[in-house]
Amino acid sequence: MAETALINNVEPPARPAGWRGIAADWSSDQRAFKNVSWGKAMMWIFLLSDTFIFSCFLLSYMTTRMTTTVAWPNPSEVFALTIGDKKIPLILIAIMTFILISSSGTMAMAVNFGYRRDRVKTAALMLATAAFGATFVGMQAFEWTKLIREGVRPWGNPWGAEQFGSSFFMITGFHGTHVTIGVIFLIAIARKVWRGDFDVERRGFFTSRKGHYEIVEITGLYWHFVDLVWVFIFALFYLW
């Protein structure tokens, strides 16, 4: 077609670097973020929205912690485990944090092998990430059980301000839900990787879109975000 021929004559101009490049991308047609697929853009924007949710939760927790007139329980004592004869503060949380941060490492390796189209290693690393995540949730369940046995309830606890229990269960619960959803996603995507869906570009069951290895990276974005949020929860809830 004449039109098509004419259009193809136009060479795309070389894109400048730095701020000029950003300005050029945003004033161009078709895409504002060049080389960013729809799925990845959507995940980034979703994470931005989710950041606001977690920020609101944490700010609300800090506000109630400041407004309540009753003393706040001491986290180093509450979150201590007695191992042997020694009472070690924050030991469980330290291990949980270590596990979750490690899972980010395995996730990053999974993304790497995904783009190398190494089916087996990608799936294995994703499953390892999921296992770390499941361990984290399991340890969280252990911690919840321990605290509930000691008498912590959303509406009160033996040591002080009742907002301690409510904020703790709400924030760690909401984060734990995120981790659980992440684990489910990781297992589902790992299954697809293992089966070779992305090598043959098999179509999604619901969306009928072709699958690509990029979904591993998108899942990874979510996973790293959940880890990053945990760092803030750890700092603001356990260390404060």
Binding site: M1, A2, E3, L6, I7, N8, N9, V10, P12, P13, W26, S27, S28, D29, Q30, R31, A32, F33, K34, V36, S37, W38, A41, M42, I45, F46, L48, S49, D50, F52, I53, S55, C56, F57, S60, T63, T64, T67, T68, T69, V70, P154, W155, A161, E162, Q163, G165, S166, S167, M170, F174, F206, T207, S208, R209, K210
Partner: protein, 591 residues
């Protein structure tokens, strides 16, 4: 050429994204019910939103009957009155306006206006609608549960929202919060679609600065909603926990009916901060799409390019950004440090600048335009008038010292109905009269439309203009029966009765509108592809209504902005966005 120099793309670059295969429906169910086509989803959103809007309209009649003729309607007791105002406000703001502008107009217009075949994630888009429908059904169910819907007022302020003195304390408040959470989840799925579609799925030649202002308005509003709804989400979750589990996030130590409650140590002000961090942007979430729609209507029906397009875009973005730092102006009477009051008053008044830029630009677009007083144009003019009116009273209320005495009076009710009730609804109507021919292929009936316009516009003024006066007298809002009060003269009661009669008449005019929508679908005049002679892309589809995939075989290629009207020397009085420039068409292009 009246093309704008700052947005030129050198030639038309090659396509960066290959065609994505669309989901093709295989049965009646997947074509019309569980459809993944944004156009069908838009219609589903619109019908659901307008249906629930009718419920809110009936509630407003009941409120006006009680206010206008206190004591006459014995079936409206104080509890019910509070339930009516709560549900009316919540439905109108969130379930009607937000859903209709973003889910309805957004879904229909974004893919067509940016030259895409569909939203980027059609399946998620479909889920968005069904979750929204579920939220609406949960909301409606509160009318039928024991105790009825919540009567906490649409702001749902704790502690009263969950205490036993408030109607709907058993089920109403719980279901209301559940419904809000569902709405936010559903909206997020749709909102991600709208944002990514605008940013990443535009057709060749469609730069951001060539987008019609409608898309800019909906896009900015969606970004705002994605950042503002999280605060409401968190507030709803925490209030739900306070109500169901007995936590005390928002609940201070207090005595209820003579006994000390189990609550203690929470912060009711925290809820207000969270609520208004959502609630103020929400005002602009319904206003910005209206701004965009009105800009397009005025330009098309005055046959003139929009004045100051670039300023219009930046004004939309600036209003969107500023609206996140003004929320505490809703909380002046809650008490705050005077410096904070000063800060929030200042930011509030600064918003007047970009808003005034927009109003001036609309007026300057009309200036020496070839104004066709079509129905969409009438609604657009009505929008400008009501919006200026409501905006000016906003300047009063933005100042701490003026707001404190006027707070919780009818003046506030009149203000926000003018600025975010009547004005956006005028834009909704204008938009529907304007795009109905594209959606259905038929024109809405002209006579019924003009009747609908004049009754709605004049009627709205008959209701809300006197309300300012009542507010200045000190008449409080949310009172079931004001009774004989020294500072409210007898004439004010007559005024109230007058407003109630006007409200009934305006309400019936909306039934005429609904009749028109259905009647014209069957018997309306055939519209053709582009009845208004509009330049933007959605009017250039090969079929009307647009078929699955919108564009037939080839995606359109955009060569200019959306506002080339009355260009000297052009063959017609508009130049479509995808019409090739003279140099190209000479080489045998077929577009």
């Amino acid at each position: 050429m009246v093309d704008v120099p700052f947005d030129t793309v050198a030639g038309v670059p090659p396509a960066e994204v290959g065609e994505v295969e669309l989901y093709h429906p295989r049965s009646w169910w997947t074509r019309y019910v569980f459809s993944q086509d944004a156009k069908i989803i838009a219609i589903q959103y619109s019908i659901t939103a307008m249906s629930i809007g009718m419920v809110a309209l009936v509630l407003s009649w009941l409120m006006r009957l009680q206010l206008g003729f206190p004591g006459t309607f014995s079936f409206i007791d104080p509890n019910q009155y509070l339930q009516f105002i709560t549900m009316h406000g919540m439905i109108m703001v969130i379930y009607l306006l937000t859903a209709l502008f973003l889910g309805g107009f957004g879904n229909y217009l974004i893919p067509l206006m940016v030259g895409a075949r569909d939203m980027v994630f059609p399946y998620v888009n479909m889920l968005s609608y069904w979750v929204y429908l579920l939220a609406v059904m949960v909301l409606v169910s509160t009318f039928f549960v024991p105790g009825g819907p919540t009567g906490a007022g649409w702001t749902l302020y704790p502690p009263q929202a969950i205490l036993s003195g408030t109607p709907g304390q058993d089920w109403g408040i719980v279901l209301m919060l559940a419904s809000l959470i569902l709405f936010i989840i559903g909206f997020t799925m749709g909102g991600l679609n709208y944002v990514v579609t605008v940013l990443q799925a535009r057709t060749r030649g469609m730069t951001l600065m060539r987008l019609p202002l409608t898309v800019w308005g909906i896009f900015t509003a969606t970004v705002m909603a994605l950042l503002a709804f999280p605060a409401l989400f968190v507030a709803s979750v925490m209030l739900l926990l306070d109500r169901l589990l007995g936590t005390s996030f928002f609940m201070p130590t207090l005595v209820e009916m003579g006994t000390l409650t189990k609550y203690g140590g929470g912060s009711p002000i925290l809820f207000q901060h969270l609520f208004w961090f959502f609630g103020h942007p929400e005002v602009y979430i319904v206003a910005l799409p209206a701004f965009g729609i009105i800009s397009d209507l005025i330009s098309v029906h005055a046959r003139k390019n929009i004045f100051g397009y670039r300023m219009m875009v930046w004004a939309i973005v600036a209003i969107g950004a500023l609206s996140f730092v003004v929320w505490a102006h809703h909380m002046y009477v809650s008490g705050m440090h005077p410096y904070f009051g000063f800060f929030f008053a200042t930011t509030t008044l600064i918003i007047a600048i970009p808003t005034a830029i927009k109003v001036y630009n609309w007026v300057l677009t009309l200036w020496r335009g070839d104004i066709h007083l079509t129905i969409p144009m009438l609604f657009a003019l009505a929008f400008i008038i009501t919006f200026v009116n409501g905006g000016l009273t906003g300047l009063f209320l933005g100042n701490v010292v003026v707001d404190v005495p006027l707070s919780d009076t009818m003046f506030v009710v009149a203000h926000f109905h003018m600025v975010m009730g009547i004005a956006p609804i005028m834009a909704v109507f204008g938009g529907i009269y304007h795009w109905y021919p594209k959606v259905t292929g038929r024109m809405l009936n002209e006579v019924l439309g003009r009747f609908h316009f004049w009754v709605s516009f004049l009627g709205a003024y008959a209701i809300f203009f006197p309300m300012h006066y009542l507010g200045l007298l000190g008449m409080p809002r949310r009172y079931h029966d004001i009774g004989e009060t020294a500072f409210v003269p007898a004439s004010a009661h007559d005024l109230n009765a007058f407003m109630s009669v006007a409200a009934l008449i305006v309400g019936f005019a909306q039934l005429v509108f609904l009749f028109n929508l259905i009647w014209s679908l069957l018997k309306g005049k055939e519209a053709g592809g582009n009845p208004w002679g509009a330049a933007s892309l959605e009017w250039q589809t090969p079929e009307t209504p647009p078929g699955h995939g919108n564009w037939g075989k080839e995606l359109p290629i955009v060569h200019r902005w959306a506002y080339d009207y009355s260009v000297p020397g052009a063959a017609r009085d508009f130049v479509a966005q995808n019409e090739p420039p003279a140099g190209l068409s000479a080489q045998g292009s077929h577009a």
